[in-house]
């Protein structure tokens, strides 16, 4: 057995079903070994998207996503995808080929110090020097990626290590990382303090972040909110923890969020932050959320607590474990007046002004789309105006909402949706992007067709990099610089080239019919929606 065979065997031991990757000489031993294991291999069209697909896969399957690239440019192309996963704490194992270990450091063809380059975007990285270490390293990598605060782990394997025979293969049953022991159970004293603080509160609010998804704790958190009637808001990454139709749900907070969600945070006397980083886009002035109120911060990563805001009651642990614990405690909370007040705020929310004739209102469109989607559909938003409209107007029932929140990586939606499809072949999956973000990953239409991973793609076409244009309008007095997308391809011809059914919508009154057609089957589809180039998020 060679080192490369051992890597493939380890993937089998970890129950990996699919790897997303792109070959090159330095990773060829691995791909050759993959021929003898029953693991699907998806050939992407550029390496960054292998990491995004692994990310979409991980987020829907709840497992670790695996992506593979060759040395040098293959590895460096992965970096944006790795950084995107790191920013959103998505568990990945990224395997890169490397030049012969005896030539490391001599700048040979396609050599790049990828463990050095990716250092600040990975939870951990390995440069494998001995083939015998492969089983231990693979075991550790999957363990580190998927426990505690999840994240990407990089394994760089020189080609000679892949080609080296190893003795008997044995996969370790345990990892021995003595000091890496993430806290799972919440501290009992802290949990009591939390219960007490909630019992005292008159205007409590729960703010959920992406950590709730990562801990697979949506049900536990929502059950808790329902049991005591506590209202819920979310960060961008926390969307779809609770159904947006829920009477206790009051939208997304932050500078692109709902006015009533921010009001709820400001007027609350108790904030329960759950799996949220208190990052700048969600909470622009962290000191305000501790003024005249009590802040409880629940997170698996102790370093997040106190990083951006000093909580009164920190609680470290796995969110699911903590809420299973909390369910065993009794507390009193009567805040129906407070919920009524928030409901009034919500009812008073301003209505968007209608767009000019000949264009589709993205807000109305997303509303109609949401209603036509199946209850458990996966909605992947890209980055830009499309993302802000999506997080504002998409109605989540029991499905998932995925997007690149921390890094804001354009082009995320299509590969992430394809990765989600690889994880779940039955659910309805829609990727919503702009004409800018679409062109950052449109090459993956080929991947989608080749590997029969169909998704529905909606492109908001406004001929601009809309969110930047809007920013330049507001900040630079409408002096537009490098935001005009003239030269973009005719999407109907592009769809034909990729053999993907095409739909175009330019009038809202046709929306229902066109969407029915677009969504009617499980085949891939591309729908172009004509948006007013001057339309804005705010």
């Amino acid at each position: 057995m060679l080192g490369a065979d051992a890597i493939a065997r380890c993937l089998l031991e970890e129950n990996v079903k699919v790897v997303f990757g792109y070959p090159g000489v330095a990773i060829c031993p691995f791909f050759n070994s993959m021929l003898s294991v029953d693991i699907e291999r998806v050939l992407v069209r550029t390496e960054q998207n292998a990491a995004h697909m692994a990310s979409g896969y991980a987020r829907i399957s709840g497992k670790v996503g695996v992506c593979v690239a060759t040395s040098g440019p293959g590895a460096t192309n992965l970096i944006t995808g790795i950084a995107t996963a790191y920013a959103d704490s998505i568990p990945l194992v990224c395997i890169t080929g490397q030049v012969d270990s005896r030539q490391l450091g001599s700048d040979v063809f396609q050599e790049a110090d990828i463990t050095g380059a990716a250092e600040s975007f990975v939870k951990y990285s390995y440069l494998v020097k001995n083939a015998e270490d492969i089983p231990r390293i693979m075991k550790e990598a999957f363990h580190i990626a998927s426990t505690g605060r999840k994240g990407p782990v990089l394994i760089d394997v020189p080609i000679d290590v892949q080609n080296k025979p190893i003795g008997k293969f044995s996969y370790p049953s345990d990892v021995s990382l003595r000091t890496y022991k993430p806290t799972v159970k919440g501290h009992a004293v802290q949990i009591k303090k939390v219960i007490k603080a909630i019992s005292r509160a008159e205007r409590p609010i729960i703010c959920v972040g992406g950590g709730v998804h990562l801990s697979n704790a949506s049900k536990e958190v929502c059950d808790f909110a329902h049991k005591y009637g506590i209202p819920v808001v979310s960060t961008l990454m926390g969307i779809s923890v609770m159904s947006t139709n829920d009477p206790l749900y009051f939208g997304m907070v932050g500078n692109n969020g709902k006015v009533y969600a921010n009001r709820a945070m400001n007027e609350a006397d108790l904030i329960i932050m759950i799996g949220a980083r208190v990052a700048d886009r969600a909470i622009s002035q962290p000191d305000l959320i501790t003024e005249n109120k009590v802040l409880i911060h629940i997170d698996v990563d102790p370093a997040e607590i106190g990083k951006n805001v000093g909580p009164h009651i920190p609680l470290v642990g796995d969110i699911k474990a903590i809420f299973e614990d909390m369910a065993g405690h009794d507390l009193e909370c009567n805040c129906s007046d407070w919920v009524d007040l928030l409901s009034e705020y919500k009812a008073d929310a301003p209505v968007r002004k209608a767009p000019r004739d000949g264009y589709v209102d993205p807000a109305l469109f997303i509303g109609v789309l949401s209603n036509k989607l199946k209850d458990d559909a996966i909605y992947v938003a890209d980055v830009g105006q499309n993302q802000m409209w999506s997080c504002s107007y998409h109605i989540v029932k029991h499905g998932r909402f995925l997007t690149s929140g921390g890094m804001g990586t354009m082009g995320y939606s299509i590969p992430a949706a394809i990765g989600a499809r690889a994880a779940d072949k039955d659910r309805q999956i829609v990727a919503v992007c702009g004409d800018g973000s679409f062109q950052m990953s449109m090459m993956e239409l080929a991947t989608m067709q080749q590997h029969k991973l169909p998704v529905k793609i909606i492109v908001f076409n406004n001929g601009y990099l809309g969110l930047v244009r809007e920013y330049q309008y507001n900040t630079y007095k409408a002096h537009y610089s490098v935001v005009d997308l003239t030269g973009s391809p005719d999407l109907s011809k592009l769809s034909e080239a990729y053999n993907v059914p095409f739909y175009r919508l330019s009038d809202m009154k046709d929306a229902s019919g066109v969407l029915d057609d677009f969504l009617k089957d499980n085949r891939p589809g591309l729908m172009e929606v004509m948006i007013d180039p001057m339309d804005t998020v705010k």
Partner: protein
Amino acid sequence: MKKVFQLLVDNNSGVLSRISGLFSRRGYNIDSITAGTTSNPKYTRITIVASGDEDILEQIEKQVGKLIDVRAIWELEADSSVYRELILIKVRAGENERQSIVAVTDIFRAKIIDVDKDSMIIELTGNQSKIDAFLDLLGGYEILEIARTGIAGLRRGTDGVVRLG
């Protein structure tokens, strides 16, 4: 304010760059860092002097502690620890200065380890206040070069000794 942290880390290649990289990318200030293997060659003991406000110092301890290679991190509090630093000072010493420099050196129990016709190199080991006081006294002479190791430290007594297998 300053804090002295002690770390026990796996003696892996790249471990120092992981730690120093964390400081630079998060914008933490590092005053000094010293590293050396322990009696068990699998581990390296690192002493870091960092400065920042209370919140930053707390973040430093948490973020460094999160690194997988870091087996343990703790603060070496001044009242329960000893710190030592070694400094080499090359000072201009012609015939006129030589005697007085030797006198100052003796008082501090420093050592003259090299003498040239118009300079000498002095070695001093001590805590930072002793070294600062010595440098202060040498202020009247022309200091040509200084090399300092940064501090190494240990907690006093047997309580809190961290043993890794």
